[in-house]
């Protein structure tokens, strides 16, 4: 394996008595499309925040592109793009003003920022309301704009927290095209998503976090092989009859499945 693009050593984050992330050791190789999965509250967003410098780890070490994040934060940030939870947009700018602003914050000169802004707006099909403020964009438009902002400086690593949440099929198609182009150019993409079908289609490698601990990591095939033996014992898993396990089934087997099966709500019957 090449020197990893993203690596963590015993990454831990506590909030008071709550251990949100515990001893996570991630390895993401260059050019990988890495899906980071986990149930709600498992620690996905906390991990991605730590990887992008938005949150300080309680202990452990993070290396991005071979640089220690704690000591080379600005150098690392210069080479990564981020779509954080909540998208971090500036609502009272127009889309074009926002991208120009982001470009210049990443050190692009005025003309380059303007040129890339125009290209990105056209690629993302955000050109039909040039005077609209970001706050008045639809959710899908905001997601596209956030992704455009994350790539305007040509990052080597892209961190995306739930990029497909609330996005329609057309916008999702645009986002996927852009991400695949980035992978083709040698970039590394690290994304969290609840939409397992998309992760399965896009990602070459997957990590699963559960209750703050990294419980599985590897290519989809490796994970499939890892849970295959257990799947054979379970009657509801198609893998037991020789079918290929889906990522959703791998995920459910890894994290223990639904806990509310068999329960009923008194007023819904």
């Amino acid at each position: 394996m090449d020197s990893p693009t993203i690596s963590t050593e015993n990454l831990t984050r506590r909030f008071g008595n709550l251990v949100a992330v515990e001893d996570v050791n991630l390895r993401v190789a260059p050019g990988q499309f890495f899906g980071f999965l986990g149930p709600n509250g498992a620690g996905k967003s906390t991990t991605i925040k730590m990887l992008t410098g938005l949150l300080a780890p309680t202990s452990g070490r993070i290396q991005i592109l071979g640089l220690d994040l704690a000591t080379h934060m600005v150098e690392v940030k210069r080479q990564i793009g981020v779509v954080p939870e909540g998208m971090a947009l500036f609502g009272r700018l127009t889309g074009s003003e926002y991208l120009n602003f982001v470009g210049r914050m990443y050190g692009l000169d005025r003309d380059t920022a303007a040129k890339r802004t125009a290209e990105l707006l056209a690629f993302m099909q955000l050109t039909d309301q040039p005077k609209a403020l970001v706050t008045d964009y639809s959710h899908g438009m905001q997601k596209k704009l956030a992704l455009a902002a994350a790539v305007i400086h040509g990052p080597k690593v892209l961190f995306l927290d739930e990029p497909f949440e609330g996005v329609d099929a057309i916008a999702a198609g645009t986002l996927k095209t852009m991400l695949q182009r980035m992978i083709a150019r040698g970039a590394t993409v690290f994304l969290t998503s609840h939409v397992l079908e998309i992760v399965e289609r896009l990602c070459t490698h997957v990590g699963i976090i559960h209750r703050g601990r990294l419980v599985a990591q590897g290519s989809v095939e490796e994970l499939r092989a890892g849970v295959g033996a257990r799947a054979a014992d379970l009657p509801f898993v198609p893998g037991s009859s020789g079918e290929k396990l889906t990522l959703e089934q791998i995920f459910l087997l890894t994290v223990g499945g639904s806990r509310s099966e068999g329960q009923e709500l008194s007023w819904l019957g």
Binding site: G53, F90, T127, P130, L133
Partner: protein, 552 residues
Amino acid sequence: MTPDALTAASQSRQQLAAVAGLRWHVFVNSLRTFRGRVELASRIFISLAFLAGGIGGAIGWGGAAWFLILQGNVEWLGALLWPVFLFWQLFPLTATAFTQNAESSNLLRFPLSYRSYFLIRLAYGSLDPATAVAGLWLLGIDIGIGVARPSVFPWATIVLLTFAFVNIVLARMLFVWLERWLAQRRTREILGILFFLFILSFQLIGPLIAVYEHRSIPETRIMGQKVSAAQRPLPPGLAAAAIAGTIENRPGSSVVPFVLLASYGTAFLWLLNFRLHAEYGGASFSESAGRRTQPSGLPVLRPGWHLPGVPGPVVAVFEKELRYLSRSGPMLFTLIVPLFMLAIFRSSGKNEGLLARAPNLTFPLGAAYSLLLLTNLSYNNFGADGGGTQFFFASPVRFRQIVMGKNLAHATVFALEVLLVWMGTCLLYRPPSLSVTMATLAGILFVVPIDLAAGNLFSLYSPSRIEAGVFGRQRASLTTVLASFGVRGTLFAVGALMLWLSRAYENSWVELLVLWLPAGFAFTVYAFALNRVDEIALDHRENLISNLGRRE
């Protein structure tokens, strides 16, 4: 009991109770954090200050009412009610640091009846310092009247309660309509033009006063009677007339003004209802009325701003800040308030009032007031960025550059404001002397860097999300507001000392040292604080992101 089983009235009561409970839980939960407890302490301190002002005013106003009635000058009751009226309506606009409208649009997703929605909006907005203080003043007037003429007390209470109702409804009505007008560029421009026409109209006051000040006493009295007649059909005049009529045993003279006063209340209520009903129905106004056009390939290239010698990221933040400001009607409105206040003071007469007696103070006082109005901006740097603050932490730019861009924008706005105040002083009073102008500028160079440095620190330690486009929701945390007053009180005191010293020693070298050395010191303080910003921002990033990212 299911919702179906509830009657409309009881459901409405239950919803109001739920909203009150929500506010209570938000308050109690806020006390879990250290910041929340400090905020509560600030709130208590500020409330005590307002209470002192309210009680002091109530005693003064009550004594005045008692005296006027005993002296038989009941026609002067209007002179007591007008300041109350002006304070009630102008204070929320001129002191936005103490005024906050709760976010109630979120309530619309619940099955809330319009009646409940209306009551909640009315109640939320009414619980502000202006209502509390002016309410105490009215109580003082009522007691003063009651002591002087016990038989009039019940009627005076009814009239003053109605007057209070008119004020509450008018203030709410002005807020919701201003919010609506300031939300869109076109109406904002029309409002701006009207405002400047209003300012220019104050130019007529000088010639008018000049005409009347040399006239004989009877002519001046005639003028006074005209003014008195002009104010009579307005709410303070009507309330005064309604009380005066009863004191003078002229029931007819008190009923008609009272009915007219109540009519004002009804009219304001109708206008408020009209706007709130539209909001309840989903009407929402924003800046985005941009015309839809067909996609036409690559959009036009528009490079960002360029400032020679200033790093790109600093210019980018500077540009972003000014764009934000230019799109925030309420903030723009706040920025023209100093001119408004100059005009108000001017209207008190050429030879009356502090500013008329000491015109050299007009420019420094106007500049100081302008700085106070920047509190919500400079002491809560990241408030309007909301969730966008995350981007600053994700970007490869040092926080000191981000803060410098913001400071540059705020200093530019302040410089523009000072220029406007200087022009207003020249137009409405007289041009300040060169020495006063220079001393004020030197004072500004001393005060502003330290003020910005303090603002930067408070912005990081005590951030508060604000809604730049919504009237009454631009307030920094009360702790910050209070701290800013402390910092500025000290700075202004030193500035005043500088002014006094420069006047006392008429030696140009002493003056130079006294005026400009502190400015050099202030810039050193600013640079020192700026160097600490990166470290503080990193230490407080979680607090900043979580406080600014969430909507309440």
